[in-house]
Amino acid sequence: MAVETLSYPGVQETLYREVMPSGLEVFVLPKEGFQKTYATFSTKYGSVDNRFGVEGHPLVRVPDGIAHFLEHKMFEEPTGDIFATFSKQGASANAYTSFDRTVYLFSATEQIPANLETLIDFVQHPYFTDENVNKEKGIIEQEIQMYQDNPDWRVYFGLFDAMYHSHPIHIDIAGTVESIYQIDKETLYRCYETFYHPTNMILFVVGGVDAKEVFELVRNNQARKSFPSQGRIIRSFDPEPSSVKESRWVLNLPVSLPKCMFGLKETKVGFAGEALQKREAITRIMLDIVFGASSPLYQSLYDEGLISDSFSHEYNASPEYAFSVIGGETKDPDALLGKVREAVDKLLVSGISEEAFERSRRKKIGGYLRMLNSPEAIAGEFTRYRFRGGDLFSQLQHYEQVTLGEVNERLREHFDWNQLAVSIVESKAEQSS
């Protein structure tokens, strides 16, 4: 297949794309003047994919945390730890697992061809033994314990737990100490074979590279390997009720002040591609107008000592779920929630002003352009959008095309207080009713 050239004059970037005969989709974004090359090799497979099958075969249910466990185990090869190879080639390598994808990456300034080959080869070569699988359990157990001690992590994921009854987004990405001890090499291979098929993966290379050379290298690399053809992957989720599971979720941990995150679970989901991207753009502008650091609500909450600089807001949306996450540390979660509701209810009546809208839109456009300085952010965000059928580089247009009417409509649609869930982490002594 030929190389496709995608030009984005608005952001002064040119992207190249080629789909390999194996089905692997490859993107290259040359950045003139950059010393480093940053590459990600990603599979559309994350912690939520815990019940699946390939078309024509029965579904399987796998232990929680297995996608993350698999990510850890990929670094082991019969020749030893792949980190050693990357180090020798001057590359710093890493990986991460999120709800819906697993990403392997390196960043290097030299030996780019060797490092690219290493990245592709180690991810396309699983090596699991009973011994190396068991050894990993102690390490991951400590990773889980580390997060258990982290109140910011607990309050954030506590909110997901409060919102969702059955969708696996409420399950910790790393699983639990109990669930990881159920993992064995057979199940790991099964997950690997399903989700690490080239048709389910994207290679993204950004930095001081020549696109032609990269495509040639990948083409030759893939031609040396054979991949069985695979049917469509079926991901199965139990139906998710529209209501929140618990309106209030509380956990005790020693903290200097309670931490309170709240958000609204949306019932209208199923958006994908450009439609989802547009919805994200509108919602992010809307939330910034209501909760951003220059909003009247933020300043009045700050003046009353109800929030600190840790107060933040975000919007998470995929085809299956969509919700906001708002909050931070506060001396009084109930007072904070009361004030927020009061202010949002007023805004629902008055609507958002043209001036506030334009200011926030500008801010989002600037933030987006600043993000394009970072190869890491580009690769990560591009893949995230792509797996959902969207395009990172068209995000500027979405911000430019949003109208005040759409933002006001989104405001009214999002703030349905029946859909509110609250997550609180506080010390034992401060526990409220």
Binding site: N150, L253, S256, L257, R370, N373
Partner: protein, 426 residues
């Protein structure tokens, strides 16, 4: 390596460093203001940037001031308070997009420098001092910030380890100061401290982006109303080599995982000739996933998820940190000490050295792709009186031998072991 170089000059008390480059879509602005770290002043100095960000004489109200940032296409603005060597630093940063990408009437670089200049040098005042309401609100913010240190157990343990290690040294102080000092700080007393700071701190202002030295100089002249006079200079901290008797501290708290931190003295400072060898030492020991700590504490013994070492070249200190199962404390300490002893005995493979050098060189080269990293590296050199350029560092790292690493290892002494564990009885 690229040939981009900082062009330098002086505007009133400010040392100005400009990096003209077309590589980025933004302008990066960074101001470092350092003043000796002192117990009596540490809290007041820490409070300054919190109050300064609230309002300027031209835009005294916080909402209006923040709207100015939004209108500059969401320019990033932030500050940090930290300690380095014997100094307490306030750093202000701005990140604004290059005008080429948007339709705008005013230069975003000019407006950003005006913004930072106003925030730092023309604060909102009433009756000849800071606004009382801002000083009160920000004292509260700082108090909460100081109290919240305990929430992040990994960071808390790391800071406690340094505190124990630096008993009797100003470096034991937290960069944000002491909670107990806050009630004694008033709008008047803080404004006095501000004046002192404006006259005594050393100011280094960095700008990187598609601009020229001349353009930046004239913008800074217009926007930064600092007193005229000497720029001042930094004095290098003395780097103590002797650790004395090993200090061991165990603290109990509600944690599921034990946090083990070790503090060591290296006797080597950032500007010293042996510093590149110390960097390689640290890489072999614990900076990377190929390092001895990662391999032996994590991969071989499955004791931890993280096990690493970190250098503080400005104080000649090194720290080791790991999160472990609580009853594995003795075992973890033993494995860590074994790694230190192995390096001292020269048990280092060629592969470990090659890997470490390749990683260090890659890191130095990658700095070129980030304006803030280039600025940070240059400022470290300016601050420590080192003349070592990135190119020179690469050459020196390449030349490090096993003998150099062993020599460095012989000078490293374990000073402190700090362990944060659960409340259950041992």
């Amino acid at each position: 390596m690229s040939s981009t170089k900082f062009e330098r000059g002086q505007v009133n008390r400010i040392r100005l460093h400009v990096l003209p480059t077309k590589r980025f879509k933004t302008f990066a602005i960074s101001l470092y203001a350092g003043i000796p770290l002192e117990e009596k002043q540490v809290t007041a100095t820490a409070l300054l940037p919190f109050v300064l960000r609230r309002g300027t004489s031209r835009t005294p109200e916080t909402i209006a001031l923040r709207e100015r940032l939004d209108n500059l296409y969401g320019a990033g603005f932030g500050f940090d308070v930290f300690k380095r060597g014997n100094n307490q630093f306030i750093q202000f940063r701005m990140d604004v997009i290059n005008d080429a990408f948007v339709k705008t009437d005013e230069s975003l670089l000019a407006a950003s420098l005006r913004y930072m200049g106003e925030v730092v040098t023309e604060p909102a005042l009433e009756n000849g001092h800071f606004l009382t309401k801002y000083v009160q609100a920000e004292s509260e913010t700082l108090r909460k910030r100081l109290e919240s240190i305990i929430n992040d157990k990994i960071r808390y343990a790391a800071e406690r380890c340094v505190e124990v290690m630096c008993e009797g040294d100003p470096y034991r102080l937290h960069a944000l100061g002491n909670r107990a000092d806050l009630p004694g700080i008033t709008a008047e007393s803080l404004y006095e401290r501000y004046h002192q700071w404006m006259n005594e701190a050393v100011f280094d202002l960095y700008v990187a982006g598609d601009t020229t030295f001349e353009e930046v100089r004239s913008l800074v002249e217009e926007s930064f109303k600092l007193p005229s006079g000497d720029t001042g200079a930094y004095k290098a901290a003395s780097v103590r080599a002797e650790a004395g008797e090993l200090k061991t501290v165990v603290e109990k708290m509600e944690v599921k995982q034990g946090k083990l931190n070790l503090g060591l003295r290296t006797g080597i400072a950032y500007a010293d000739d042996d510093y590149p060898a110390l960097l390689v030492y640290n890489g072999v020991l614990g900076a990377y996933p190929h390092s001895k700590l990662f391999l032996n504490v994590r991969e071989k013994a499955s004791l931890a998820y993280y096990a690493s070492s970190r250098l503080d070249g400005h104080k000649g200190m090194m720290t080791i940190q790991s999160g472990i199962e609580i009853d594995k404390y003795e075992k973890a300490v033993a494995i860590i000490r074994e790694q230190l002893a192995d390096i001292e005995a020269g048990q280092i493979s060629e592969l470990e050295i090659d890997q470490t050098k390749a990683m260090l060189l890659n890191h130095v080269r990658e700095m070129q792709d980030s304006a803030y990293e280039m600025i940070g590296y240059d400022f470290n050199a300016v601050f420590s009186g080192s003349t070592r350029s990135g190119e020179a560092l690469i050459e020196q790292v390449k030349g490090v031998t096993i003998d150099d690493i062993v020599r460095v290892a012989k000078g490293i002494q374990l000073d402190t072991i700090y362990f944060l564990r659960d409340r259950k009885e041992a």
